[in-house]
């Protein structure tokens, strides 16, 4: 049981999570942003570590990753910054990033470090199920880290069952097969897809991500899932002047 499980046991709906790229727009504000988000009432956070070739990301997060790398953000530096994480932040924290930086850092070392600083889960979009099970899962389990899998409208029922079995916190539901930064898809087909997922009675709650940008899309997502994740829209805010002061207002604009 980690902080994520505790959260999902306690709170079943309207969960709000925010993604941001560590090192953007400034290299040293990773925890300041986290603190502001917790104060604004966000339920859990996804801190991205940047990668040069983020194929699942749209222009906004591509840009933030590029800038973060220019600013000198690395996994080593990020773990350094997160040393004080649990002195300042109480809500669950996920790290999100691509597999190659993890491979270079060393998967075992990565998981150990993450657990040591108080991270609760990991999202690696380009780490597929077979590779996870065969080579990675034992390090996650040893360190009590949740691994989060994505599900799209094209994911088969059989595969969703398998993902549910391998997951122990939540399932990351995409509103459509898309890169980050798009629009929330709403159509009859999408409603069917959410209903299909709901009817499967999975053991893990589902959280909807990709395309959640405002109160409307957040509310819509919460009709079908336990909550939703805002990424690109928040990263855009970070690109503006005085971003730390604007965080409170941004979160309130999504969920009152």
């Amino acid at each position: 049981m980690n902080r994520l499980n505790a959260l999902f046991n306690k709170k079943k709906d309207n969960l709000l999570s925010i993604y941001y790229t560590a090192g953007y727009p400034e290299v040293n504000t990773t925890l300041d942003i986290a603190e502001a988000l917790e104060r604004a009432g966000v339920d859990f956070l996804e801190i991205g570590f940047p990668y040069s070739d983020p194929v699942a990301d749209g222009p906004t997060i591509q840009h933030s990753s590029e800038k973060a790398l220019e600013n000198g953000m690395t996994l080593t530096l990020l773990f350094e910054q997160l040393k004080d994480l649990r002195k300042r932040i109480t809500i669950p924290i996920l790290l999100m990033g691509y597999v190659n930086p993890i491979v270079q850092y060393g998967i075992e070392r990565f998981c150990k470090q993450a657990a040591e600083v108080g991270v609760d889960g990991i999202i690696v979009p380009d780490l597929p199920m077979y590779e996870y099970e065969a080579m990675y899962s034992r390090y996650f389990i040893d360190n009590n880290l949740s691994n989060i899998f994505l599900v799209t409208p094209q994911t088969s029922e059989e595969r969703i069952r398998k993902i549910d079995e391998l997951s122990n916190s939540f399932i990351y539901l995409l509103s459509s097969s898309s890169i980050t930064g798009g629009q929330l898809q709403v159509s009859v087909n999408i409603e069917d897809y959410y209903k299909r997922i709901k009817a499967m009675q999975l053991k893990n709650p589902a959280i909807i991500g990709f395309g959640i940008s405002d109160d409307k899309s957040f509310k819509k997502a919460c009709e079908y899932a336990a909550g939703a994740i805002v990424g690109s829209a928040f990263v855009k805010l970070l690109g503006t002047e005085g971003y730390l002061e604007k965080i409170q207002g941004f979160v309130k604009s999504i969920r009152f």
Partner: protein
């Protein structure tokens, strides 16, 4: 096959399918279908017929007389430059378009570096009346301008990739992003033996016609099926894999893969992947790639757009690691000089990619009876501007 892929998509430590879930249904469909389809009699008949009547295969195996004299061995060129559209890339494009049609796909996307794969893909899409979108790095669009016009004339849409180094790696990222957003009706025709499994194996099979023919032609011309050396340039590695394929199990045959050293392996401007790279994950497979200590992909450099790529296909990574093939590198200057030499000794202007393979002849020592086959992967029309500038013609 000893050096082939296993049922999980791996060549030793390399390969796999490191893709986001959004791509899983597409890649899984391919994995389930590709062997069935390409072994189907109807597919084979259409593939063979198009290779013969449309591409102009078999491509000749030409004994390069003046090169042979110069280097003191029997040097043979496998003339992929004589294929329709001017390079080996068409072999794979034909194979994949026939496959895409059988999968019911309505739209084709591709990435391209030198533009040869883009032209080949635009060509087969015109042939079959299918919508075609080609992603190409902005830098490459400039240095391979004639190919951009060719693609447009063939009816393809060419989309500039503006991220990163604006070359082949970034064009590949953009193509993958497009595929994520179009998961049902689109097939991605990858241009080399890279990408998630089953692409490396599928592309290698489509290119293996090169060595299948070469073996037969060698036997006819020399009385021996096996040469002492087989050589090819390596960007992602498709012409090399096609040239090596049917020789892999003949351990006596020395396989030589030539990478682009750019301005020199240690210059900071290079694409010599096996010299500068380490194991990691790039574009969906575990392979060897050029990267920082932190795992960020390094922007490569080569004068040749087709070799300007920070990785190699996973099967190449495997052949390198187990020493089945020798990986070497050639600089921009050496390649351009070899291109000039081939033009003036043999009357063949090679693509700058190909010229890298030719240039390595200078560094080898042969016995007089050695038979050496070099994959002449493409012709140099697209590179005239670069040659002209370099030599001040």
């Amino acid at each position: 096959m000893k050096y082939g892929v296993n049922d999980k998509g791996y060549y030793g430590d390399f390969g796999g399918a490191y893709i986001p879930e959004m791509l899983y249904p597409n890649v899984e469909e391919l994995r389930e279908q590709y062997l069935k389809i390409i072994h189907d009699a109807d597919f084979i008949a259409e593939f063979d017929q198009l290779l013969k009547d449309y591409v102009g295969r078999p491509s000749p195996l030409y004994r390069a007389k003046r090169f042979s004299e110069k280097y003191g061995a029997n040097i043979f060129f496998k003339r992929e430059d004589l294929n329709h559209t001017g390079s080996h890339k068409i072999n794979n494009a034909i194979g994949q378009i026939l496959l895409a049609i059988r999968l019911g796909k309505k739209r084709i996307i591709a990435e391209t570096g030198a533009g040869q794969h883009g032209v080949a893909t635009a060509t087969v899409c015109a042939l079959k009346g299918i919508e075609c979108v080609v992603y190409m790095g902005e830098v490459d669009m400039e240095r391979q301008a004639p190919n951009v016009s060719r693609m447009k004339m063939l009816g393809a849409k060419v989309v500039p990739a503006k991220s990163g180094s604006k070359t082949l790696k970034d064009a590949t990222n953009e193509a993958l992003r497009d595929w994520i957003g179009n998961p049902v009706d689109t097939h991605y025709i990858i241009g080399s033996v890279v990408g998630p499994y089953p692409y490396p194996d599928m592309v290698a099979r489509f290119q293996s016609i090169i060595s299948l023919e070469a073996k037969k032609q060698l036997l006819e011309q020399t009385g021996k099926e096996l040469p002492e050396y087989v050589m090819a340039c390596v960007g992602g590695g498709s012409n090399a894999m096609g040239m090596f394929y049917h020789f892999l199990n003949d351990e006596k045959v020395n396989l030589v893969a030539v990478e682009a050293a750019g301005k020199g392996v240690d210059s900071g401007h290079s694409a010599a992947t096996t010299f500068l790279g380490r194991e990691g994950v790039l574009h969906g497979s575990r392979t060897i790639l050029m990267q920082t200590d932190d795992g960020q992909v390094v922007e490569p450099y080569s004068i040749s757009a087709g070799l300007d790529y920070p990785g190699i296909g996973p099967q190449h990574a495997h052949l390198y690691k187990i020493n089945r093939a020798q990986y070497v590198s050639i600089t921009d200057d050496e390649a351009l000089q070899a291109g000039l030499l081939c033009s003036q000794l043999e009357g063949i202007i090679p693509a700058i990619e190909t010229a890298h393979a030719l240039a390595y002849l200078e560094k080898m020592t042969f016995k007089p009876d050695d038979n050496v086959v070099i994959c002449l992967s493409g012709r140099g029309d697209k590179d005239l501007d670069t040659y002209i500038k370099y030599f001040n013609f």
